[in-house]
């Protein structure tokens, strides 16, 4: 099973290397990978049927519980087969669709990487690896959507898709970590028994919120749905694979997967029903007015995803059964329609449905495939779609008080979906073939076979639902509900309410198909409402966010050094002040202090005046000289207080500093009076505040008695062990010699720096 997952990644790495070498015209062989995976999983199907699941585990980062725990049960199996099965067809289709494309190897690489991620996702039992594969699907879809990277629109939609699903992914991580924290477990399959514990935890609400955000973004639920139509910029195989059959279902998978763990709680059901319902109706209505085939399909996909969320939200076993079946139903017919659309686009160069018609005359097999899919989509018997739709109505009708409102919503949705299906699957093929399409002919079998196969399956499963019932659907439902399933899939339930609803649906949908003719005119009327659509709102928010970003950034990083300093210093001052005045009882202990003598006072007065003079002097050199006076006063203070070495050093360094200034300043222009009074007052207050804080702090620290253990040690051992009598010097060259070592290195670096700064003048050819 690990191999099945890993092989996709390996393939992705290897394919760019080998495809160039092979020089083979056809790349059909690439489909062998998904095909063998499909066959492999198909071979495990009986085991699932018998035991319910297969489990494998590989250690990866065991210290935090991130392991490759794979768990294959009915639900996973459903998805695995969809992924590898439709994957096979898409790989085949691609070999023709992108034949000769310069970067075909990359495309296959992304595609197989995506497939592997998807497989990993649905197989993961470990909460972290689940997330890991989830993210990998997002990122590989980013590359796939942006595959036509010359086009700005394509790049933009890749970014949008990544942004939306990416942030959802991060919420998934949070949800998973939260779950892991609450349960102290890493394996999802082990969590269902802790369902009540989780729901009792105060993180439950957050976990749900995060999980929903993840699922809704990935599965394009209102109001996050808009990335999906945008993602249609991708090549058709991508749309087929990601945006109808697999990736967008990841969110559904996630919700389904966690139904036993988190479900059966009003916080779970309520939001899902509401969001699902809004999505399905909203998107279905949107689908009515599209002209672009892919747009129609995208909106109908969103609507279908809404239905699925809605069903999972209903949470009854009937609803979950309906969901399980509808996943498959939708995957089959929608993949078919996408592939067909791709062929139409590929051959005619347009996807504008109002311009298409009569293509049956030139590509009949494609038309047949489309027709079969459209029938399934419409839920017309004997298609598999009919089975699915029946189950949906059964589920909504079983909701007690809410039965009718919910059912009506479902009907509206289905009517619109039917319309959309007809528009995409039937309209292009019937009617008159436009002049300019006369010369078209049927593309190769690699292209039309995949949709045809899928179309046939749409009907086959409708005619013979038992093929799936015990092998696949039952294990799925068993996993979701945790009970032994007692249902039978069948096409014909007899004349009942549900059948009536189906008839109503099909009837009104078909009527709508003949009444409503999509046109530019209509579309533009609809687009007039886009100002209040979620997409525009998000765009508004994101442009607002961009404005905010640049405002925030420019506000802080405004280019003016002194504002940076003011910010930093205000921050320090506030923090210091807060901590000083809330945490310390201020007092001053004068008992230990030394008396002031006249000469010291004079030195201090001179120092203070010199400091002020430095600050307020009008000439740079006077400021420098006056700074020199400050330094010399220092020297005396050091001397008075028993620090001859310091006095010496301070003195020499001060003089050198003054000299450096003097040498540097000689050609600078005069000081300008550059700040106004307000600035100066502000700066003055800030400086004073900071100075005062430091003074107060110093006073307080001086009250503390200090352990003199270290200096005592030096006093006793400087001569005996360090062989020197000037203790300061012994510290400098011995006790703390390392400091001095570094200190002279600092000096050397500074000298090299000065040398370079003054001597290095890059020639115009060396300025990088």
């Amino acid at each position: 099973m690990l191999i099945a997952v890993i092989s996709g990644f390996v393939f992705a790495l290897v394919i760019p290397l080998i495809m160039g070498r092979l020089k083979s015209k056809s790349t059909l062989w690439a489909a062998l990978l998904p095909l063998s995976i499909f066959v492999f999983f198909l071979s495990i199907l009986p085991e699932i049927q018998d035991n319910g699941h297969v489990r494998i585990s590989y250690q990866w980062v065991p210290s935090i519980g991130v392991n490759l725990d794979f768990y294959l049960d009915g639900l996973s199996m459903l998805f695995v087969l969809l992924i590898s099965g439709i994957g096979t067809l898409v790989f085949i289709y691609t070999s023709a669709y992108l034949k000769g494309h310069h970067f075909l190897d990359r495309f296959y690489a992304y595609l197989s990487m995506f497939m592997a991620s998807m497989l990993g996702l649905v197989l993961s039992d470990n909460i972290y690896t689940l997330f890991i594969f989830w993210e990998l699907t997002s990122i590989s879809s980013f590359f796939l959507i942006g595959f036509n990277n010359d086009s700005e629109a394509s790049r933009k939609s890749a970014l949008t898709a990544l942004a939306i699903t990416g942030i959802g992914g991060l919420f998934l991580l949070a949800a998973m970590v939260g779950l892991g924290h609450v349960t102290q477990l890493n394996q999802i399959s082990a969590m269902s028994s802790l369902s009540e514990v989780i729901q009792g935890n105060n993180l439950y609400g957050w976990i749900l919120l995060f999980l929903f955000l993840a699922a809704f973004t990935k599965s394009a639920q209102f109001p996050f749905h808009f990335w999906l139509p945008g993602a249609m910029k991708a090549p058709t195989p991508v749309s087929t694979y990601l945006h109808s059959a697999t990736m967008v279902k990841a969110g559904i998978y996630l919700l389904a997967r966690f139904t036993p763990v988190l479900g059966n709680h009003e916080w779970w059901n309520g939001p899902l029903i509401i969001v699902g319902a809004i999505t399905m109706v909203y998107a279905a209505i949107h689908a009515l007015f599209r002209l672009d085939l892919k747009g129609i399909l995208a909106y109908s996909t969103i609507s279908a995803l809404g239905i699925l969320v809605f069903l999972i939200g209903l949470g009854t076993s009937a609803a979950l059964l309906a969901a399980a079946v509808f996943i498959l139903v939708h995957a089959l017919y929608k993949a078919t329609l996408f592939l067909v659309t791709g062929i139409i686009d590929h051959e005619t160069g347009t996807r504008d449905v109002s311009q298409l018609g009569g293509l049956n005359k030139v590509m009949l097999p494609v038309g047949i495939a489309a027709l079969l899919a459209a029938i399934s989509n419409a839920g017309i018997p004997p298609s598999f779609g009919f089975v699915g739709k029946d189950l949906i109505y059964a589920a909504t009708l079983g909701m007690g008080d809410l039965a009718w409102p919910l059912t009506i919503l479902a009907i509206i949705t289905n009517v619109a979906l039917l319309f959309a299906g007809f528009l995409a699957g039937i309209k292009p093929f019937l009617g008159k073939l436009p002049e300019r399409f006369q010369h078209l002919h049927l593309p190769g079998p690699a292209m039309y076979a995949p949709p045809l196969i899928l179309g046939i399956l749409c009907i086959l499963f409708g005619l013979a639902p038992f093929l799936l019932e015990s092998s696949l659907i039952q294990p799925v439902v068993a996993g979701l509900t945790g009970t032994e399933p007692d249902f039978h899939l069948q096409l014909w339930h007899g004349f009942n309410l549900i059948l009536l609803l189906s008839v109503i649906t099909i009837g009104s949908g078909t009527a709508l198909y003949f009444i409503l003719k999509p046109s530019e005119n209509l579309l533009s009327k609809v687009t007039a409402f886009e100002g209040i659509s979620p997409e525009s709102i998000v765009r508004l928010i994101s442009s607002g966010f961009a404005t905010f970003s640049s405002g925030w950034t420019r506000f802080f990083q405004n280019g003016y050094l002194r504002y940076y300093l003011i910010t930093i210093l205000s921050f320090i001052s506030l923090m210091l002040a807060y901590r000083l005045f809330t945490g310390i009882t201020l007092y001053v202990d004068t008992s230990t202090m030394t008396a002031v003598t006249f000469y010291e006072a004079v030195v201090l007065i001179i120092m203070a005046v010199a400091i002020l003079f430095t600050v307020f002097s009008k000439s740079r050199l006077v400021a420098v000289a006056s700074m020199g006076v400050v330094g010399y006063s220092f020297c005396l203070i050091f001397l008075f207080y028993s620090a001859p070495d310091l006095a010496m050093t301070q003195f020499s360094i001060d003089t050198l500093t003054v000299i450096l200034f003097v040498l540097v300043l000689y050609n600078l222009p005069k000081y300008l009076k550059l700040s106004d009074t307000r600035d100066r007052v502000r700066d003055g207050l800030l400086s004073l505040a900071f100075g005062t804080l430091i003074s107060i702090l110093t006073l307080e620290v001086m009250n503390e008695t200090v352990s003199k253990e270290t200096s005592q040690y030096y006093a006793e051992n400087a001569y005996i062990l360090g062989k020197g009598k000037n203790v300061v010097n012994v510290i400098l060259v011995d006790f703390r010699g390392f400091d001095t070592m570094v200190e002279i290195t600092v000096l050397a670096i500074a000298a090299i720096g000065v040398f370079g700064l003054l001597k290095l003048h890059l020639r115009s050819t060396e300025k990088e």
Partner: protein, 136 residues
């Protein structure tokens, strides 16, 4: 600066100050002074000379670029610090000669270390000041 008075005085100050700087260096372990101040004094001697006679002349006197003293001094200090490693001690452990040397007193790695400091400081100060003055 072309003044005879300063030029002449500097010619006498130079050896005096250099002598003095060595004095400051050597006695640092016992009294205020040491490699840093000593090095500064030496550097100042040359700086004064260069102010009086022009940098080129002072450079001629020194015979090599003063910056060369930096790696030399660093190497000296580093060697003094690392030597103990050869004796199984940790870095910077003081090694002392058994007998003390007249004039200097006990001779140990600390003195070599301080001499390293002295050389680096000369090198640094002269490099900086000469570089600036040349740009004037």
């Amino acid at each position: 600066m072309k003044t005879i008075i300063f030029k002449t005085a500097s010619a006498y100050l130079l050896p005096l100050l250099l002598l003095f700087s060595v004095f400051i260096l050597l006695r640092g372990h016992y009294l205020p002074g040491g490699g840093f101040v000593g090095g500064l004094m030496a550097a100042i001697a040359f700086v004064i000379h260069s102010f009086a006679n022009g940098i080129d002349k002072t450079k001629n006197i020194i015979k090599f670029h003063p910056g060369f003293l930096m790696p030399v001094g660093l190497l000296l200090a580093l060697t003094a610090g690392s030597l103990p490693l050869a004796f199984g001690d940790t870095f910077m452990t003081g090694l002392w000669m058994k007998q003390s040397v007249p004039v200097i007193g006990s001779v140990g790695t600390a003195l070599f270390f301080d001499t390293g400091v002295y050389l680096v400081v000369i090198g640094v100060t002269l490099t900086i000041i000469f570089t600036i003055s040349e740009g004037l």
